[in-house]
Amino acid sequence: MTTVAARPDQTVTVLLPTDIPLFPPATRRALLRTLLGYGALWLCGVAALALGASDRVTTFALGIALPGGGLFATGHPAWGAVAVLGMLLAVFVWWAAGPTVLPPLAWALTASLPLALLDGPDPSTVAGIAVLATVPALVALAVSVHAIRHASQRRRGAALNQRLAQVPFAVTGAPSYPDDFPVVEHSDQDLRRLRTALDLALQPLDAYEGFTHIDQFREGALRYQLNALSYGLSMSQFTRTPAFRGYLAEAQRNTIDKMLQRRVWGYWPLENAWGNLRRDKEPIPVGQNVMLTGFFGLQVGMYTALNDDRYTRPGSLTFRWDESTVFPHDLPGLAANVRASVSGSPFSLYPCEPNWIYTICNTFGLNTVLAAEQQTPTGAAEVVRSQLRTAYESEFLRPDGRIVGVRSAHLGLSWNFWASPSVQLATTYWLNPGMPDLAQRTWWLIRDGWLRVEDGRVSTPRSVVSRLDPGNYKLGTDTFTLAVTTMAAREIGDEETALAAEATLTEREQVEERYGAERVSNASGLANSYLNLGRFGRRSGLRDLVAFGPPEQWRDGPVLEDAAYPDVLVARAVSDGAALDLVLVPGNGPVRTTLTLGQLRPGASYDVRGTQHGTVVADYAGRAQVEIDLGARTQVRVMPAG
């Protein structure tokens, strides 16, 4: 269950921008560059035809003007179609894994094909003119369609603005202690779900059992599983057990250490080579790979906010390729990398895969900066936030409020289906720490036309995209969509929708249980981790943790430093700066076990209720051990004596 804190909210009105041009500035520059580049190729075809170049040169030049153009012009439409398909396939692979060289290679190959295949190519002039007219006609058509759609989106945006003007959005401000930091107790089911995550994360560093192994480039990659696993563990700590370190913190550290392994980040040297034509293996390059820097930075930032500052030290995050090739980094360095990348990008947002800018990935970049800012305030977060906000409201927003999910940094192009509601849903959650007003508006738009809540159940449109589990690329289930719905709804404060999404899943999905751990069986590990993140979240939970951080009382007060796992499951652990309150549950039957307390005042006496000890004295390091008979749910309170 999630408690909704009664903090005073700032009520704001968030209208859609009304001045989004047909082609926003950075996009326009990239498109013009693309058109100029293509224009040069097209002129080769025009020149060859107009100047009466040899048949072979003309055939090749027409192939340069249009993929397969030489084949079409010489009367081989079937082969021309094959060339076009080959070109489309090359573009798809470019999109999927970033090999920038592939489309130009495929284009050059298709242009050369008729010279190799045909003894004496004989292009007809009429067909050549048709070939040359094709791309300009397609460009004109695309611009026209875009202009018509843009006008329609502006009309819809204006209509939405009339309604948005009447909608007060409640944006949470800086939380105040203790009212805005509710700590609730894990339910039995919460603990079973948490155990699944703990078992995954507490494996030896070289073990990856229970993880999906399909590819390291797309959504099924290990890095996304590790990110999501860690986010869920961190959120459970923030809302349930902020005063417990022990195996919960170790589990998060393990996911961070695994991220540094070559098998997890080794995809980047490949992508950098074939996408940017660079041989540099550096996994945290400026202006690239926000899908690692941002996601990983947030993961480290959440751990740091809740536990300790070890990852702020130079070299504490060292990516190792081999014995002699290492890339030392740290949390402030990751944040500095994001700041430099945002400042250096004409779009402000910068690419994940080489060339491909994704709006959602860049929310993680901002969140990394915000989390690092807690440790070392520099004021740079405001600069990054401001730059990204401008881009989110112009280059990457349609006039009807739909976020544009992807754009090619080189070409300036995007795809319409990238404004699908699935993109808006996830963006809502990750945008809330840095731009809560935009997150609120996005959520309102989702609820306005896409997500339906009836009779306490959520129904998502029967589109293929919403019925995809990206963690294992399996079709036919909207479990992942409902997981993200839970996350976003809870974070925004729409608890009704969050509960409805959870109820829908509970009613429909099979769960499997083993050794006291539980998971949704027909869902990927990624989906299960995001289900945890939604389950353990609360209103503005991510925003409070990432943008503001836990209160001092939690950082400095007594903590449960160690406990046996799974003998002791920690259902609640919170400190008020002086005393420590615990709720413990046996995870492996009744047991007599020892708890290690930490961050006590050295040499001070503490009264302990709920264990074998009445009083303990902290050692010079501020630690003490207490023995406990744990047979059922037990409350323990540790407080200064007297």
Binding site: D199, R218, C352
Partner: protein, 185 residues
Amino acid sequence: MACCAVLALVLGVLRAIWFHLFPGRRPAEPGFAPPARRSTDGAVIAVPERAPAPPRGTTSGLLLGVVIGTVAYALVVAAIGTTPLVRTFDGPWLWRDAALVALASAALLGVFARNTPTPRPALLVAAGITWTELGLVDMHLLGLFDFRVAALPLDLLFHGSGLLVVALGARSLARTPDRPIPRPA
């Protein structure tokens, strides 16, 4: 994260088609990790043994490789045979086609008879060998076709591509451990 949902969707469709064609090839969905244990001071106390590795199924991989190599070879030869690049000759095409069908069918039956995972390296080795052998038989034993232009380079490319696949598979095969890696205490 579902940052690239449409791409994931395309991959999902391709995987759905593949596993529909080869239902036995669908990998088991990973689920739980082995239960972890920590002592009261946070030390690792007992690490369960890793589950024994599933049967390697090398034979199954080899047989599937033969199927894929044969089918790919037949399709590619049929395709390039329609281009001016290749010159075909009269010969025992019927017998040759029947032999290809028989070879692929027999290997496919063998695959279905074994319900074991197919290691990719073995598959590559078998597919590459099949490709190269069939090409050599067709072109240089039966003399069914040859390359009209750039005969030597294309000949080398045609047969060499199979050998390249064999080399890739053999390299992976050499790297694949036979036994589970022991876990640190």
